[in-house]
């Protein structure tokens, strides 16, 4: 594959990630177009979370790659905030609490950093925020609470989705957004994924289970084990794993 400079692509070529000199991800290629839903599935310890953190620019990882780009922008040398400003957002598996900082003030600050040209006023932003909160059945009182502070697991995941919806990214990575959600919450979060997709967002969804895929139609499914993508396909791979486990798709499992 040659170098592409399409503005509507998240392009990853030969991504290698090491932590403390131990390589965990061994050369991954991904091309995600805007509006596409890609799913990465894999067993525990396959390198899924390492992949997501490395794409977002976590400082703990040593990353080498032929290229990581978003549109014409080379992400490889950028700090996490600059990757976000380029249009990439990551929903965390374990979102962190920031006591004393309210959800709404944090998100308005983030929005202004991500979209400085929009001159968003506190009032307009709050309206937008409320609209999205309602769709996720998050009560307005959550917006006045400290960020993730004392939130339940499910509330945190909904809040991650709220952030993605309101911050208007071009590409998102969802790191196990489905864990810890009950059926109702899972459906709401899936609706969130769909509306991101509808808005033209390219999505990389990392998951352990096929459960969330009952609500979604992925364009591509990638199977990750031992830091490598060993198979690519569509929903048929998900069904295979559901029936026969990971052993059915990866011989060394």
């Amino acid at each position: 594959m040659g170098q592409k400079k399409n503005t509507s692509e998240l392009y990853v070529k030969n991504l290698r990630v090491a932590i403390a000199e131990k390589e965990i991800v061994h050369g991954i290629d991904l091309t995600i177009k805007q509006g596409e839903l890609h799913v990465v599935m894999g067993p525990n310890g396959s390198g899924k979370s390492t992949l997501t953190s490395a794409l977002m620019g976590h400082p703990a990882y040593t990353v080498t790659a032929d290229r990581i780009s978003l549109g014409s922008k080379n992400l490889l040398e950028l700090a996490p905030h600059a990757r976000a400003q380029a249009g990439l957002l990551l929903a965390f598996q374990n979102p962190l609490a920031v006591p004393g900082v309210t959800v709404s003030s944090f998100l308005h600050t983030a929005y202004k950093e991500l979209h400085p040209q929009k001159n968003s006023t506190a009032l307009d932003f709050r309206k937008q925020l409320l609209v999205h909160a309602v769709t996720l059945k998050l009560e307005a009182t959550y917006l006045r609470r400290s960020l993730n502070d004392g939130f339940s697991g499910g509330e945190k995941k909904k809040l991650e989705m709220l952030q993605l919806l309101v911050l208007e990214p071009k590409f998102v990575i969802l790191d196990e957004i489905d864990t810890g959600l009950d059926v109702d919450a899972l459906r709401l979060v899936s609706e969130g994924v769909k509306s991101l997709q509808k808005a033209g967002c390219g999505i990389l969804l990392i998951t352990h289970y096929q459960r969330i895929l009952n609500y979604l139609q992925p364009d591509f499914v990638h199977i990750l084990t031992h830091g490598q993508i060993i198979r690519q396909g569509g929903m048929e791979l998900v069904k295979l794993i559901e029936e026969k486990g990971y052993a059915a798709v990866c011989p060394n499992f």
């Binding site: 977002m56 920031v98 400290s146």
Partner: protein, 487 residues
């Protein structure tokens, strides 16, 4: 050159550089700032450097004080000489008592110069967005904070209510009996070496009396006290809140206070009578050459409430532990303390609650932030005497370290001599975690902005107790200091 017709000795107990107005291009040729002592021509009296008995006598003479105050000062001076330096707390070895001017009587007319201020102070004023008039006041350039219209109406309404709000020197002149009754009763000269020093050479500070049943609705702010001595090196404040009265006194400001003085040693005494409530808010940001050694104490009678809100951002070393002496049944005390220590700074701060009566309650909340090798210490005392029953107290001290070079210590002392008490103590030390920063960065915030947001969230429980404009300024200021652009 603009001349100010009012007396004002804010930071002018020592030689102040001669002054010009920055806005006036006609004076750009005057002396540039020299970071040293320079004697302006218009002071009528300045004590010699160093301290001895004759200096104390001179101070009292120049103030035309009553005999008892002169005696009080002289006795205090003797105590100061006899007392050894505290061996705990911060490093005080840099203080040279012989190299300090203890008193300067300013003339009625004085002028100051913008050009003489260090540029980083000016820069900070600009970045915080302080109005021009206030800048002059803060810098010691202006003789007053120019809000006379506002002040006049406040002053009139205070007078109608019988509230006295004066500088301490005027208080002594106009209300000698009242001052004599209370001065030095809450913090005697012998309390500690620096209280003794203040008692010997004090000048300026506030004198407030609130009559029975009077609630002062607006916070009294030092900068409304026009034509008066203000904060200085050795200011002395006395507040008397008579039964069932209420007053909130706000002292200082969040902007950096520039001073060539190397020692600031104040004493604040507050009497809260039965059923009264006093809140005293200070946010101080001395320049980083200053030793800030302050004794603050409230005596709270039956069903009274005494509250300290104390913020320490600047100085080289601060040692300050506001205290509440709960002497009457159901008296309540609360202390909120914030400290920020950057490079080369040590904030040794905290609070003391002394329960001397039954059904008394206290709460101490301390939040400290260290960065760039700065050091914060929480030092607190909780004392309950044997006869005090049904006492409640809660102490929460949280420290936040922004990097590995910084340091935080906790020195809580509990002297609980009664059985019938309910005590809670929580202490946490946290670091800004890499994961927490990464989380915020991943939403588009720079590392600096993310750190500032975590810090602002950390101090939010105290910031929300501040008057809004102070809270906003304090947050901005901490952010500025974290960028390393100040001090």
């Amino acid at each position: 050159m603009q001349q100010f017709a009012r007396t004002f000795n804010f930071m002018n107990h020592n030689p102040q550089p001669s002054i010009q107005n920055k806005k006036d291009p006609g004076f750009s040729g005057l002396n540039p700032y020299q970071f040293g002592f320079k004697k302006p021509e218009n002071y009528v009296f300045k004590s010699k450097k160093g301290l001895d008995k004759s200096t104390v006598e001179e101070i009292s003479f120049h103030k035309s004080e009553p005999m008892w105050m002169r005696e009080f000062r002289l006795k205090a001076y003797q105590i100061f000489v006899n007392k050894t330096m505290p061996m705990w707390g911060g490093d005080l070895s840099g203080i040279d008592f012989s190299n300090i001017f203890y008193y300067i009587k300013p003339t009625a007319q004085k002028a100051n110069s913008w050009a003489d201020l260090p540029p980083e102070i000016m820069d900070t004023y600009d970045r915080i967005g302080i109005p021009e008039a206030e800048k002059k006041y803060l810098a010691g350039v202006s003789a007053q904070y120019e809000s006379e219209v506002v002040y006049k109406s406040i002053k009139e309404s205070l007078q109608k209510q019988g509230v006295v709000f004066l500088d301490m020197d005027s208080g002594l002149r106009e209300y000698p009996e009242l001052v004599k009754e209370y001065f030095g009763t809450i913090i005697p000269a012998a309390d500690n070496k620096f209280a003794a020093l203040n008692s010997a050479v004090w000048s300026g500070g506030s004198f407030i009396y609130v009559p029975k049943g009077v609630k002062v609705e607006l916070p009294l702010q030092a900068y409304f006290r026009i034509n008066a001595a203000n904060m200085g090196q050795f200011e002395r404040t006395l507040i008397i809140a008579d039964e069932d009265s209420y007053v909130h006194y706000v002292e200082g400001c969040t902007a950096p206070i520039y001073s060539t003085d190397s020692l600031h040693s104040a004493v604040v005494e507050i009497i809260v009578k039965k059923g009264a409530r006093v809140r005293y808010t200070t946010i101080q940001n001395w320049s980083t050459n200053v030793y800030n050694l302050v004794t603050k104490r409230m005596r709270v009678s039956e069903e009274g409430v005494g509250e300290w809100v104390d913020g320490n951002l600047g100085s080289k070393l601060t040692m300050k532990y506001p205290s509440v002496y709960l002497v009457g049944r159901k008296a309540r005390g609360e202390i909120l303390s914030i400290a920020y220590a950057g490079k080369g700074q040590h904030q040794d701060a905290g609070g003391k609650a002394i329960h001397l009566a039954s059904e008394t309650s206290s709460k101490i909340t301390s939040k400290s932030i260290s960065k760039g090798g700065g050091r914060t210490s929480y030092r607190g005392l909780l004392h309950v005497i044997p006869s005090a029953k049904n006492v409640k107290s809660k102490v929460v001290c949280d420290a936040l370290l922004l990097d590995r070079e910084s340091r935080s210590d906790t020195y809580p002392t509990m002297r609980i001599q009664s059985q019938d008490v309910q005590i809670e103590h929580e202490a946490t030390v946290s670091k800004i975690g890499d994961e927490q920063l990464f989380y915020l960065q991943s939403r588009g915030l720079t590392k600096e902005l993310a750190e500032a947001m975590i810090v602002n969230g950390f101090i939010e429980p105290i910031a929300r107790e501040l008057p809004l404009e102070y809270a906003v300024e304090m947050n901005r200021l901490i952010q500025l200091q974290m960028e390393g652009s100040v001090g």
